[in-house]
Amino acid sequence: MTGVLEVDDLSVDFGRRRLPAVRGISFSLAPGERLGLIGESGSGKSVTALSIMGLLPENARVRGQLRWRGENLVGRPDAVLSRLRGRDLAMVFQEPMTALDPTMRVGRQVAESYILHRDASSGQVRGTVLEALGRVGIEDPQRIADAYPHQLSGGQRQRALIAMALMNRPSLVICDEPTTALDVTVQATVLRVLNRQLASVQAACLFISHDLAVVAQVCERVAVMWRGRIVETGRIVDILERPRHPYTATLVAAARFDPSEPRAVPADLDAEPGAVPDDLDAEPEGAPPTRPYGGEGR
């Protein structure tokens, strides 16, 4: 059967000097399937993600094929890709601190991702937005929707961004290190929200991380990227036991598993849309809006 997305011999290089970032990678995602993409910074993970989204800078050159439901996206005009983006193909980024427009209320930004793909006015969407914010475990959606991004904590912002990404029930969600910039305690709750949301809309997911332990909480399968190539693909449990590539071995050695953390949540479980579990708001409200990472890995 054909997947949602088939990446076929994808290569990306940059600039006049053709600096290669991705060197001929292939993988595919079946509907609802989740694949972890793991590797160190500079290994080409984020470039892969952005090339699928069609958001690479002007000086990037993409070769190979990115087949979306059988149709190649490489070289398609932005008019075509932008209709796909945010509707069928969504993305959650690494830096919740800077990923929201600082001059616009959060609710309006979430509403945009809905309105852009529909004939709706912002007045009618308010309820939908509040519902979406509630689904990602924001306990006071009214207040958060009317707040500006700088008034929110990192966890709240990332939840809002997850709500934005899942607003249109996309078939694929690309997550680029969505919890890297968050506190460890917040990380766990945001991952849980993400898991539940992915399951409830039955979206496939490409989950990018440099941390095997984090990937293991979302995905069953993982592809290991190293210097622009996929050097190993397999089920996480197998890779943990028998890493074949030396880089994978160092990754496995570096990964820290907390036995209390839940492993890959099966997609069909825990899929109650709209239900807000009590333990989600353990995170302190109004945490200081500092930026813990300087935008590493880009």
């Binding site: 989204m53 958001l55 800078p57 002007e58 000086n59 932005d78 008019a79 932008s82 209709r83 983006r85 945010g86 509707r87 969504a90 993305m91 980024f93 830096e95 800077t98 990923a99 929201l100 427009d101 600082p102 001059t103 616009m104 930004q109 945009e112 991702s113 852009l116 793909h117 500006y148 700088h150 961004l161 934005m164 990404a165 607003m167 935008g295």
Partner: protein, 320 residues
């Protein structure tokens, strides 16, 4: 409310800087050698006549007394009377104020209208030849002095093509179309330098916008490039751009003084130059003060504008 306090604070600074500016202007102009008596009576006048006239004009009073009485006049709307003609200064200024205000406003609007798309285009295509060309084009405009541009424009569009008047001015109330026709060439020459400079800042501001994470988010939810720039980019870039615009206003006023000469427009600039030549300091003082006040007031408005544009600044103690 914190915002009200911020705005009141800015108004206080405005009043303070207006006071400092007025004192500076007054002292500078009155410290010039050769006062009004020399202008009225000539350099070879009888010393007795001079001291009599000085007493009559109140010039024998101490400087600070004269300053305070001038300031009192400013606040109550009495700008004094011309030393030479005896006309009220206000009646000299107001008809000319409209000319300069039209020129400056149109010049600013024109430079924004040209600089925004040009700078944005150069930013979007900064990695390509066309972006480079757009950036270079805007540098070219900066290298040409406004009055040279004005003369060339007159030669081409007024003398050679005869499309537009070479100079002069018609009141907006009398004939809006003629008003506009007379303003085209002067405001284009004024906007050329100013717009080129602005385009540089626009480009820089939008290069930053294009690399922002939130801009990528906007693209990721389905915005196309240019709509995303208009919807999310302009508002964010505006905070830095209105600062530049506020600062440019002073330059544009100076530019207008020159351009009014080139196009023989009866504005404040030509009044200023005339009266400086005649040493009618009361008029000069009033004109300079008016221009400085306008620049200061607009810059205060710019600061208040930040609060509207950037919610992060609201409620902060420091505005910038």
């Amino acid at each position: 409310m914190a915002i009200t306090r911020q705005i009141l604070g800015r108004l206080t600074t405005l009043v303070a800087s207006l006071l400092v500016a007025s004192a500076g202007i007054f002292v500078a102009l009155n410290a010039l050698p050769g006062d009004a008596t020399a202008a009225i009576l000539g350099t070879n006048a009888d010393p007795a006549a001079i001291s009599q006239l000085r007493a009559h004009l109140g010039l024998d009073r101490p400087l600070w007394v004269r300053y305070l009485s001038w300031l009192h006049g400013l606040v109550t709307g009495n700008l004094g009377t011309s030393l030479l003609s005896g006309d009220p200064v206000a009646s000299l200024i107001w008809p000319r104020f409209g000319v300069t205000l039209s020129l400056v406003t149109l010049g600013m609007v024109l430079s924004v209208v040209v600089a925004m798309p040009l700078g944005m285009y150069a930013a979007v295509h900064r990695r390509r030849a066309r972006g480079f060309i757009a950036a270079t084009l805007s540098q070219l405009g900066m290298a040409v002095p406004a009055f040279v541009a004005g003369i060339v424009l007159v030669l081409v569009f007024a003398v050679y093509l005869r499309w537009l008047p070479a100079g002069g001015y018609t009141d907006l109330q009398r004939d809006p179309l003629e008003w506009f026709r007379h303003l085209i060439l002067p405001s284009v020459s004024l906007a050329l330098v100013n717009g080129s400079l602005l385009a540089r800042y626009v480009r820089a501001a939008f290069v930053e916008v294009l690399t922002e994470d939130w801009f990528r988010t906007a693209r990721a939810i389905g915005w196309r490039l240019w709509p995303a720039l208009w919807r999310h980019g302009v508002r964010n870039a505006a905070t830095s751009l209105i600062t530049v615009l506020g600062l440019q206003l002073a330059t544009v006023f100076v530019g207008a003084v020159v351009i009014e000469q080139v196009f023989a427009m009866p504005g404040l600039g030509s009044l200023l130059l005339d009266e400086v030549g005649k040493r009618d300091l009361v008029v000069v003082q009033a004109v300079v003060m008016l221009m400085v006040a306008l620049v200061l007031i607009v810059n205060a408005l710019v600061d208040v504008g930040y609060l509207a544009l950037d919610p992060r600044l609201r409620g902060r103690r420091e505005m910038r």
